[in-house]
């Protein structure tokens, strides 16, 4: 088995043992990290692999959250269908939005993703009858057979591990390799025979699909959904998670999510100035650790033999 797959298996086993610690806190944190980790890894498909900087991934996260919860509450659809629909709707939203965004490059691309995500936010904010508007959608319960934090944790673990496995297959496939050539040199990629915009759009959709899954999980986990999920600082936060962990590595964003969420939990317990810490961390990454945590570790001698 490859090195990375081994890592994934060991990680899964360790995480599966977490609830045995009998700590509600750890189960809670664990669920949070898994969900945000998936979200960050899905974003990284666009950011680290395709080279597209999207400031609006929270839109698909939010679409997933609202879709799943609304279908369960208002349409009384069973959980499996609602859950799957969340992912599909996330992909569809990404298709529509992505279609327009891939026509642009760099800063204009980033701004259009921001504009679209703000449109989605504004709709969620204002469509009171559907989304509960500003007050949000509350009373989102665990689905019937997952009605305890521990059970939901295992469910999340299963879904996230499966999603990561699938994403990993995509990233290591010929399609994934072409994405990296697009990141490195879009002009050259055109002239090896690739319709670059089409590939970027597919990457967008896959990213939106898994962001939707993360959103659906989060909505239930949080027992409520607010337009805040889609507001742009949320997009910025998941971007920072990816950067913190390292965007040129598959598991980097997951590591980043874990570190950031843990840090936030610790910091907010004794001060309200978390944004100050977050901003400082971001600045430190940008100046001193452009490869993120994983990038930094890889460059250290101790891990050198792990690399070869």
């Amino acid at each position: 088995m490859s090195k990375e797959n081994r890592f994934l298996v060991i990680l899964t086993l360790l995480l599966a043992l977490l609830p045995l610690s009998e700590s509600r806190f750890y189960v809670f944190l664990g669920t949070d990290i898994l969900i945000m980790g998936l979200f960050a890894v899905s974003l990284n498909l666009l950011l680290g692999y395709t080279g597209l900087v999207s400031f609006g991934q929270a839109a698909y996260f939010g679409v997933g959250a609202y879709t799943c919860a609304l279908l369960m509450k208002k349409a009384s659809l069973i959980f499996p269908i609602s859950f799957l629909a969340a992912a599909v709707f996330g992909a569809i939203a990404a298709l529509i939005i992505g279609f327009f965004c891939v026509q642009l490059t760099k800063i204009y691309f980033a701004m259009l993703t921001l504009a679209f995500s703000q449109i989605v936010w504004a709709i969620a904010f204002k469509w009171n009858s559907l989304t509960g508007g500003d007050t949000g959608l509350i009373g989102v319960n665990f689905p019937a057979y997952l009605d305890s934090p521990t059970r939901f944790y295992y469910f999340t673990l299963g879904v996230v591990v499966l999603s990561l496995y699938l994403l990993r297959r995509v990233v290591n496939s010929p399609f994934g390799r072409i994405l990296t050539t697009i990141r490195e040199n879009p002009e050259r990629t055109v002239f090896i025979g690739i319709n670059v915009k089409f590939f970027q759009l597919i990457s967008f959709m896959i990213s939106g699909f898994f962001a939707g899954i993360a959103g659906a999980l989060f909505g239930i986990f949080n027992h409520s959904i607010f337009p805040d999920f889609i507001f742009w600082p949320q997009s910025a936060e998941v971007l920072i998670m990816s950067l913190l962990g390292g965007i040129y590595n598959f598991f980097g964003p997951l590591v980043g999510a874990a570190v950031l969420l843990y840090l936030r939990m610790q910091v907010t317990s004794f001060t309200q100035y978390w944004p100050l810490i977050l901003g400082t961390i971001l600045a430190l990454i940008l100046f001193f650790f452009p490869g993120g945590i994983v990038g930094f570790l890889k460059s250290q001698r101790i891990f050198a033999k792990w690399n070869r």
């Binding site: 297959r169 496939s173 072409i178 040199n185 050259r188 055109v190």
Partner: protein, 249 residues
């Protein structure tokens, strides 16, 4: 009548009033080695960009292998069998040399939309063969961005060849090279062209190179094709001498 692999008819392109290419018409025979020369700013790279579809013509028609490519997007033109290198080295810097070439092979073999096969093991032999042919076999695992300029240019040639083109467009393949590197590159290009029966159209500033391997030379000046013929004919052409050497004394 021998088949014309490339046929340009009255191609015209302006940029905000500046006419870069004006009424250029020529054809290239299959298997021919043809060079495009002209002073700086004559429009050579623009003409290349028109042929490969990177920019659209304002007027005129372009045909490749008998197919009208006038409004075809560049990636489709490439798939028809055209390969190209660029003036400024155009590779995939963070990928290894092997991965650079393999990417082009993947596309050529129709595997680009494969989402599940692990990519590392695909087409290793074909990729290795191309690496061998451009003299980069030992550098397969090197990160391409860290290679020297000369090797990067060789890699670029490799990427262009990996799509198994019938027509190869090379934009100043020996730019910035020492005399020795130039010799090696030209030998390499000549060998590959003959082995595979490629048609070659290239631009160059190094006249020695141009006159040593071209079968036909086209001369561009201020967007216009002012002469075309064998090396002998071009060498003795008064218009060409005027353009390059100023008024004949």
């Amino acid at each position: 009548m021998e088949p014309m692999i490339l046929h340009i008819e009255k191609a015209k392109k302006s940029f905000e009033g500046f006419v870069a290419v004006s009424g250029v018409s020529f054809s290239v025979k299959k298997g021919e080695i043809c060079s495009l020369i002209g002073p700086n700013g004559a429009g050579k790279t623009t003409l290349f960009n028109l042929i490969t579809g990177h920019i659209p013509v304002d007027e005129g028609k372009l045909a490749f292998k008998g197919i009208d490519i006038t409004h075809m997007p560049p990636h489709r033109i490439c798939r028809l069998g055209m390969g190209r290198s660029f003036q400024r080295t155009n590779i995939f810097p963070r990928l290894t040399v092997f991965q650079n070439i393999q990417a082009a092979v993947l596309v050529h073999r129709g595997e680009s939309l494969n989402f599940f096969k692990p990519v590392d093991s695909l087409f290793r032999e074909e990729t290795g063969a191309i690496l061998q042919r451009v003299g980069l076999k030992e550098y397969g695992d090197a990160v391409s961005g860290s290679l020297s300029y000369g090797f990067q240019k060789q890699l670029e040639l490799g990427i262009a060849l990996a799509s198994d083109p019938e027509l190869l467009l090379l934009d100043e393949p020996t730019a910035g090279m020492s005399a020795q590197e130039t010799h090696q590159t030209i030998d390499l290009i000549g060998r590959i062209t003959r082995e595979k029966g490629l048609t070659l159209l290239f631009t160059e500033h190094d006249m020695e190179v141009v006159f040593s391997i071209s079968e036909r030379i086209l001369v561009l000046h201020q967007g216009r094709l002012i002469a075309g013929g064998s090396p002998e004919e071009i060498r003795n052409n008064p218009d060409v001498r005027k353009v390059y050497l100023g008024e004949a004394r």
